[in-house]
Amino acid sequence: MKKDIILAGVGGQGILSIAACIGLAALEEGLHLKQAEVHGMSQRGGAVQSNLRLSSEEIASDLIPEGKADLIIAIEPMESLRYLPLLQENGWIISSINPYNNINNYPDIELVLKEIWKQPKYVTIDADGMAKDCGSIKAANMIVLGAAAPFLGLKPQSIENAVVKLFKSKGDAVVELNLAALKAGRDYALKNM
């Protein structure tokens, strides 16, 4: 088993929570993992990404080689496209359709989505809308994680366990919200892949 994943978003959007969930799930399954994060200056509202590598064998590089990533998971649609050079020919893009518009020259969102839809394999999802339906827009990142779940090569149960573990300290209500978001995202992806 080997999965090379690029997580993409804007500083402050919560890609590290997604990374932490996948990491905990991988650990539970006894996999090797390496997760390179971005800290420091770029976190201030800039483009951020994390290289997450899972494997049943030992992993060497912290960075995913160009053209070798199995999937891109993005909380922001334009950011999903920034890492295309890392994605393999038939890799998956799992992206939210909700733009994070903090620059003055953000392109037309329709054109951004069309660009994603040109790729061979993708799931685009209204993460903000579905998170609101689940109870809070804050769970948008768990919607995206849910949508990516079928492609991770991990058992659904271990991902759920990871979500519980990660949010346990914030109380039952928060755990329930995030589990619901995870499920909603996964159901959507399974119907729309």
Binding site: Q35, A36, E37, H39, Q43, E58, E66, L81, N102, I103
Partner: protein
């Protein structure tokens, strides 16, 4: 024992705790910050009563750690690469005094300058100071090397430099721990003049340090952190330092490389191992995630020996961090190319947060300074450096910690009056106070904005040494009371703030204006914590 999922920085912190550290001293700086933060958050460290406070700057941190080593206990000091420039005086001389309790210096380099103003390679400092160095290839090695470093320091009676890079510092993986050791007992150095670097003593100590070099090399040959892996294809031998080893083996199935490899993790590099590779192979590729230090030594100034390739001959880029693709290209291996980034994708540079106090301060400054024209605002290292970019475009320099005030003095001396310095509160106490003293002694016509957000913002909101002390420091240094102003950087005070800045710009002496409003990030964090505490209270 169960493996812990740790960042490289955290692995180092845990290892230091396990290895019997008594204190850690540091100034925050990406990518080193999380080492101290991990110790501060560690219950174990608290139980063991390990000192873990931020220092005013890297030099004071280095000296404090040296003092702890003098007293016989194990001390760690952490900084980013450019922090070692600040600490260099203490660092280089600590090699001459030698260590008593184990003394380990972490320098976190930032090749590709993800969050820095240069990509200097701290291994030069290690060589310069004649101290042993460790350079881990992965997070487990980072743990193991840190655990070993205190022993090495005490055995050889010298400080040890542990060099890491951003990728290792900020990448997370499973790390296995070793048994926890007790801290050292307080014990003075055997020779009470060892730390007195009078020339007569320093000469003797320096000779001793030079005399230790062959032992240090022998230690590097036997510790297990330098390994020679033989292989059949001797048309090329590869020297891979630290993290570069991973980028090499990533390119081969099962990580089996057909060429002999010398994997370097400890310096001074054992000559015998290098000689074996050099003699047995037709050519040598040197992979270093930093400057081409070994490569340059190996090829020599005239480059008349065997073919040595790497960063100097263009086989690899001369600057920036390495990655698996660059190494594959160096080995003439085919590389995958993903698709190009579509043209519509726009840059998204970092920027000041919405609601940031710095934005309001600079908006006022921009307007107040208009009548004198642009190009006269010297600034410093911190979040506020982002005000160089659109939309503010307020500042004209960012060089090193504290340089804003001193550069303003020099520019004013040259006739650029008024000159303005804009410096953060934490940077001010790091290296700005002495510059302000110069300005007062010189009666320089400069206006200093000390942007006080009451934290060290850029690195994530660590305690600022300046907290609650800024005006007192300025008064103490000799800035006159009527030219010290505290303003509130908010839109509703915009006009009044402009007026104060304008008045002080016209003053022909040193003025200090302190725009004070808490960092929006730490403020929000506090509000969240308060809400959570209330919720818990309500439940109880």
């Amino acid at each position: 024992m169960e493996k812990l999922l740790l960042l490289g920085d955290e692995a180092i912190a845990q290892a230091a705790i396990d290895a019997g550290m008594s204190g850690v001293y540091a100034y925050p700086g990406t990518p080193s910050t999380e080492i101290m933060e991990y110790v501060q958050a560690s219950k174990e460290a608290k139980e063991k009563n390990i000192r873990s406070l931020w220092s005013a700057n890297e030099k004071t941190a280095m000296e404090t750690a040296l003092g702890m080593s003098y007293a016989g206990k194990r001390a760690l000091v952490c900084m980013k690469h450019v922090g070692l420039n600040v600490a260099a005086d203490a660092f280089v001389n600590a090699a001459i005094t030698g260590a008593n309790g184990g003394l380990v210096v972490i320098a976190a380099d930032d090749p590709s300058m993800h969050s820095s103003q240069n990509e200097q390679d701290s291994r030069f400092y290690g060589k310069f100071a004649f101290v042993p160095m460790l350079e881990p290839a992965n997070q487990q090695e980072a743990y193991d090397m840190m655990y070993y470093a205190f022993d090495l320091s005490e055995k050889m009676q010298v400080p040890v430099l542990l060099r890491i890079t951003t990728r290792l510092a900020h990448s997370r993986t499973g790390v296995a721990r070793k048994p926890s050791k007790n801290q050292n007992e307080l014990h003075l150095p055997g020779n009470l003049r060892q730390f007195v670097l009078l020339p007569s003593i320093a000469r003797k100590q320096y000779r001793e340090l030079l005399g230790k070099q062959s032992q240090l090399e022998a230690e590097a040959a036997s510790s297990g952190f330098n390994t020679y892996m033989d292989a059949a294809d001797k048309s090329l031998g590869i020297i891979a330092c630290g993290l570069a080893y991973n980028y090499l083996v990533e390119n081969f199935p099962g990580h089996k490389v057909p060429h002999p490899i010398l994997k370097i993790g400890q310096y001074p590099v054992p000559l015998e191992m290098v000689n074996k590779l050099y003699s047995e192979c037709d050519s040598v590729l040197v992979l270093e995630d930093g400057y081409p230090i070994l490569e340059e030594l190996l090829r020599g100034m005239l480059n008349k020996g065997k073919k040595v390739i790497g960063r100097l001959d263009g086989t690899l880029p001369r600057d920036g961090e390495l990655n698996p693709n660059l190494v594959a290209i160096a080995l003439n291996m085919p590389v995958e190319k993903g698709k190009n980034i579509p043209e519509l994708v726009k840059n998204r540079p970092p920027k000041l947060c919405d609601g940031c106090s710095h934005s309001d301060a600079f908006l006022a400054l921009n307007e107040a300074i208009l009548e004198y024209g642009r190009g006269r605002v010297f600034s410093d290292i911190g979040c506020y450096t982002l005000s160089a970019l659109e939309p503010l475009e307020s500042i004209n320099s960012c060089v090193d910690m504290g340089a804003s005030i001193t550069m303003a003095i020099g520019a004013a001396d040259a006739g650029l009056v008024p000159a303005v310095a804009a410096i953060g509160d934490s940077t001010f106490t790091h290296s700005g106070i002495t510059g302000l003293l110069d300005a007062v002694n010189n009666n320089s016509p400069i206006t200093v904005l000390i942007l006080d957000n009451s934290t060290t913002g850029m690195t994530g909101g660590q305690t600022s040494s300046a907290y609650g002390k800024v005006e007192d420091i300025c008064r103490g240094v000799g800035v006159s009371e009527e030219h010290i102003h505290v303003i509130k950087p908010l839109r509703k005070f915009h006009d009044e703030n402009i007026e104060i800045i304008r008045k002080e710009l016209a003053y022909q002496g040193v003025s200090v204006i302190i725009p004070r409003r808490e960092c929006i990030q730490t403020l929000n964090r506090k509000i969240r914590q308060k809400a959570k505490a209330k919720e818990l209270e309500a439940k109880a």
